[in-house]
Symmetry: C2
Subunit: 212 residues, 2 copies
């Protein structure tokens, strides 16, 4: 579907397009001009046209974009129609927060298990999933073949857990520990470094302060 040459920076904007278009659909708006979309998104209309042209373009001169068609296309480009199955490793506060995050299921991701090695939480139910013992992860993964492992474990544990996941056959990791993982080339990893975003905010505050 997608052109292999699409720059990562464009890819990273697609979820935002998806979100805005989803909101338009929720508000029963079925047609949008690139100018309107650009005002809502705070990027230039020409950037929007350029971005969407990377995927073949969806606009019609004088009509604008068909919101539903564009939304469906971006859904497919992002693979959100695949119903990827996820597991969460770590049933602490972050694991629980992620399990309960309504946005994931809405975007087609299916949580099928949560694992932990803490006896106090094993057997409890989080977001409709029973927390399973981490010792049983291998058997579960080999049988159920989840697509994505979400790593919500402490920094000290994550390297071992990531290696385990790869050994058990997982091909995509979404990592929340503050460690950049070094894994085989065919394993996809998205790292979420929460502090990075807080530090960007801090930079902007500091810059404002200096220019006062």
């Amino acid at each position: 579907m997608a052109d292999k040459q699409v720059p990562l920076v464009v890819i990273r904007r697609l979820p935002r397009y998806h979100r805005y278009l989803g909101e338009l659909l929720n508000n029963k708006i079925y047609r949008v001009s690139s100018t309107e979309l650009s005002e809502k998104m705070g990027v230039t209309a020409s950037q929007i046209r350029q971005d969407l042209n990377c995927f073949g373009g969806f606009g019609q001169q004088g009509y604008g974009y068909n919101v539903e068609m564009l939304y469906d296309s971006i859904t497919k480009i992002l693979g959100l129609d695949k119903g990827y199955k996820t597991i969460i490793i770590g049933a602490g506060n972050l694991g629980k927060a992620l399990a309960n995050y309504a946005g994931f299921e809405k975007r087609g991701f299916k949580l099928c298990a949560v694992f932990d090695n803490n006896k106090d939480v094993i057997g409890k139910t989080i977001a409709g999933c029973k927390v399973l013992a981490y010792a049983d992860a291998q058997g579960f993964i080999e049988k159920e073949k989840p697509d994505i492992a979400i790593l919500a474990v402490p920094k000290l544990a994550v390297t071992k857990v990531a290696d385990d996941m790869v050994k058990f056959g997982i091909k995509a990791l979404w990592n929340f520990a503050y460690v950049d993982l070094d894994l085989p080339g065919d394993v996809l990893v998205e790292n979420v470094h929460l502090s990075d975003s807080l530090m960007t905010l801090s930079y902007r505050m500091n810059e404002l302060g200096d220019n006062k």
Copy 2:
């Protein structure tokens, strides 16, 4: 300190430099070449030189970078030496996870209160902070003047809470709700859209699948 013309894309890489340099210091490595730094970070050496030149450059020909000096400089550029005071609104799973996130304090952010309107959690202690009633937030903020409000509240509540924060005098918001906030121009907002990162992962998985 920082040049106003530094592109945001460079700024967004600074936290990563900061993280890597911090790790080098932890490992008692005090000198690094741009080539070594580039291998560790997975970006080109020329990109590193270009990025750091935005801030005046820190390297010496034939010596490389003084890790401690570079780390301290980036600490200052990012405002991490300011000891910005934070409050968290929302003591649910996400709020708790954020309060307990060791990385923030290590980077100079000081959590001074957590607020919620749920009677079951008010009065409990999270990460050494007592959870206060949201009704008392205004008094607390006007007295303590925290710098950053971390919004860990549900999507439906966030617009009202953000408006309150601005009214109470907060100038920087770190928002985890899946809503782009529309606030006065002098209020800084960093939005963290967790699903965006998951969707990027999904895109990469889908792209690999299509090209198999």
